[in-house]
């Protein structure tokens, strides 16, 4: 057993590699900051569907919307209360960003925390960012 030094060094390196992800994230901002609801969204009280459903299903809703708009050419959504919405991320006051006019504090905050990178913004524009 003359390899004691070698083995211990190896074990130490192995343990370091094992816990590296935890060390790397130590000091990073992992704290969750609540997304801010814009004044306009607060005043509206009700989104296209109830808040709880929106939290869980907004990605599916947007996916269905995009097919409805592009394929069927129908651009108006009438929700269960009979209120009309423009089925668009950022076109006009009645669109998603028309009401949630704070993408950085609303959309991005959650997406960044959850490390979700939706490719919507590769093409769609935030009217605020392009001015």
């Amino acid at each position: 057993m003359n390899d004691k030094k070698l083995i211990i060094t190896g074990v130490i390196i192995f343990i370091f590699i094992l816990i590296f992800p935890f060390l790397y994230n130590l000091g990073g901002t992992t704290e969750f900051i609540d997304p801010v609801l814009s004044e306009k969204a607060k005043a509206a009280k009700f989104c296209v569907v109830p808040k709880e459903d929106m939290k869980v299903e907004h990605m599916q809703i947007l996916d269905v919307w995009r097919d409805t708009v592009v394929r069927k050419g129908e651009r108006v959504y009438v929700n269960s209360d009979g209120k009309k919405f423009t089925m668009s991320l950022s076109t006009g006051e009645n669109s998603c960003l028309g009401c949630h006019n704070n993408k950085a504090e609303f959309c991005d905050r959650c997406h960044d925390y959850a490390s979700v990178r939706p490719y919507c913004w590769d093409c769609h524009t935030d009217p605020k960012e392009i001015k």
Binding site: G73, V76, V78, S80, D81
Partner: protein, 268 residues
Amino acid sequence: MENSRRKFLKVAGASALGMGMAGTAVRAIASGSGNKPKTMKNDNALTAKHWGMVIDTRKFKSHKDVQKLIDVCHKIHNVPDFEYLGEHKQQMHEIKWMWEEEYKHAFTDLNYKYVNKRVEHLPFLVLCNHCENPPCVKACPTKATFKRDDGIVSMDFHRCIGCRFCMAACPYGSRSFNFRDPRAALNLKEETVSGFPTRMKGVVEKCNFCAERLAIGKKPACVEASNGAIAFGDLEDPESDVRKLLESNYTIRRKQGMGTEPSVYYIV
């Protein structure tokens, strides 16, 4: 207790039935609250059975008249212009929804040995012909390009994988591929407009007959800016402007022999 196949099948059948009924009941309760959400067109949306365009080339005198319309179109649709980057022009990278063409290039099948002098050097405005038999739609493997019920050959940029089969299939060269990030050119010029998305690197794009404007009751931007030189309407409606123009004027279409049946007509 002895387990027999008979008993097992009974229990399994009863549970399957129960689960099915529970699902229906839940759905019935859920849909009972309020009205069912629905989607619809805007009240003022322009609709037709077959959108078509008639371009009166007699009203386009110079390059300037045509360029004005091209600029309007490219501006509102966020079409990038890479020439601004100060590099020498690379035709492959050029993105165009509308462009100017000479008679002999636009109408290859009508380019006879001796051509009328006026027509020969007239600036022809060319764009996607929104064909009745669009070869690009047949070529698209993902159905990203499709023909709408109103005759517009439309694109779903979300679905385009950038294979460029449609570009090979289109006999008019109406389609452009984003070899580079279009936002690079748009950002540099600081002229991205809201209301229409940009594209990303790796997708094909082309004229959409301003489907986004028709949806809110406006005619295409080029038609609006042309001061009556371009007419737009329903080709299947005998009372429409375009049909009346087609009846009273001699018109030509691009590459008639291809059998694509273009929806864009030219008065010469």
